[in-house]
């Protein structure tokens, strides 16, 4: 890690991260404030009236507890797919753009190895995502305590969000690997990003229609089993661990590719 580069890139990422965090905060607050066993019934009634639409966004469970309610309405789409937007913006900012525009030449014209440069960029994205996970957890706990004291199972939430962070890091790592692999800027950005968009679409399709079980079995998104994590299910924890390990492996691969390839900057 290079402190100077880390500070510069972190500062440059602050604005977009702030916007994403604000949107997440807004939704988290809104969804939690909508929790009300009685209103929950009416939401559930609405869900039953158009089950496909709700199912597509992962909102298909009859909810009784606050955490189930949150898992149903926040974790299927908002806290996963929406964060992919942030991941893509950051992969673009930290890697793709530097290589495409040639400003990487300046970074490499300093006594810093490529491992250190790439490692710093990964450090920035990992820091932003970790901070976001902490912020999301704090917001969820804060809103829940303010509106429904004692209703939220903190420990279950912590497990779920640890798994969520593992998923985010795996998404970021694949986007970084693709950013390091391709010299064409569009390919560098959209191979990794496009793959995850495809995974989200696959998940939407398979949630609506049970005929697409194959899609589900090859979809890495299923490794993030948030209901299982909330109940401490072993296979769900295993899935989260697989995500975390893949993130480390993919980041390592990204750094390796970056140190070996030709950079026409």
């Amino acid at each position: 890690m290079n402190k100077t580069l880390f500070a510069k890139e972190l500062r440059a990422s602050l604005f977009v991260s702030g916007i994403i965090a604000a949107v997440l905060a807004l939704y988290i607050g809104m969804i939690i404030s909508m929790f009300d066993p009685e209103l929950g019934e009416s939401l559930d009634a609405m869900m039953q009236s158009m089950p496909e639409v709700f199912a597509a966004f992962g909102m298909s469970t009859q909810t009784t507890t606050l955490i189930d309610f949150m898992l149903n309405y926040l974790y299927g789409f908002l806290l996963t797919a929406f964060v992919l937007v942030l991941v893509l913006i950051m992969a673009n900012k930290l890697m793709v753009r530097h290589l495409d525009r040639g400003s990487m030449a300046y970074l490499l014209a300093t006594p810093n190895s490529r491992v250190r440069i790439a490692g710093t960029m990964i450090g920035v994205v990992a820091t932003v995502l970790t901070a976001l996970a902490v912020l999301v957890t704090a917001l969820e706990m804060g809103f829940a305590e303010a509106l429904f004291p004692g209703e939220l199972d903190f420990e279950a939430l912590a497990w779920v969000n640890a798994g969520l962070l593992a998923l985010w890091l795996a998404m970021a790592a694949s986007c970084f690997l693709s950013a390091c692999l391709f010299s064409n800027a569009a390919a560098a950005l959209w191979t990794g990003g496009g793959l995850w968009i495809l995974f989200f679409l696959m998940q939407m399709v398979s949630q609506v229609d049970d005929d697409f079980e194959l899609l589900e079995s090859i979809n890495p998104l299923t490794l993030f089993d948030y209901y299982g994590l909330a109940t401490g299910d072993a296979s769900a924890i295993g899935g989260a661990v697989v995500l975390a390990v893949s993130a480390v492996a993919l980041f390592t691969a990204a750094v390796t590719v970056f140190t070996r390839r030709d950079l026409s900057v």
Binding site: R101, S103, A105, Y106, L108, T110, N112, L263
Partner: protein, 311 residues
Amino acid sequence: MNHPSGPETGPAIEICDLKKEYGKGRGVFDVSFAVERGETFGFLGPNGAGKTVTMRTLMGFIRPDEGDARINGLDCFRNRARIQERLGYLPGEIACMDEMTGAAFLEFMARMKKLRDRTRMNELVEYFELDPARRIRKMSKGTKQKVGLVCAFMASPDIILLDEPTSGLDPLMQSRFIDLVLQEKRRGATILLSSHLFEEVERTCDRVAFIRAGRLVGSMRMDDVRKSRKRVFVITFADAATRDRYARAHVDASPQPQGAASVEVTVAGNFDAFVKDLAAYDIVDLTAHEQTLEELFMHLYGTMEKGGSHE
């Protein structure tokens, strides 16, 4: 491979049989040259000839297909981070961090280079009359070039690689750049600069190499270049008939397509005879320019095929 050149002996920059192919005849092929310590070496050639590829190889950005590139005896690809400790570089394409101000970018680069003393940086900013407070995005090409130059020189490096250093600079700043190179040379820096402008190379370099279509055409000492260079005169006659009369008498005069009554003559050495001979003709205009380096190398090595623009 066993190389005698160690860190403090042997040439500062050494390229042996470098080959890097990009397909369709692009790239560099069998390029070899060495730059001695304290020497200023000019690397000349038209755009797309392979100058930037060579620079990128020296910077360790790209790995040679064959051959090797060494700086201070260290392999440029494998030891790139260590080499950078004492190297200054100006990229051919100026692409700084657009969203930063010039001052913020220079401060950032100074920290990345672990530069403690900012005196030289500030001196250079003043020397090039650079206003660093503006955002780089809003700067003109010449101003961005100044930022890049300050960046390349601010750490007072031992070895300086400059890819087309004066592109975008106005004549005053070009001449300041030349003075700066001479100053750095006196300090003992080894400088490799690529260019397609003869003047800056002529005024700064000890030696010059010419590259074309990825191959090194030749290299020579600047003193020898000066000796072998000729003047090219464009003579415009009063009418086409006079022009034809002159052309018949002088087979080496090539008629110019632009001016109906003009010819171009290359003169070496005997200017007296040339001028006295001209007195017999009715002349409306006479302009002289020095042979461009490309013309000189074409004349000396004679093997280059025509075609391929100089600019």
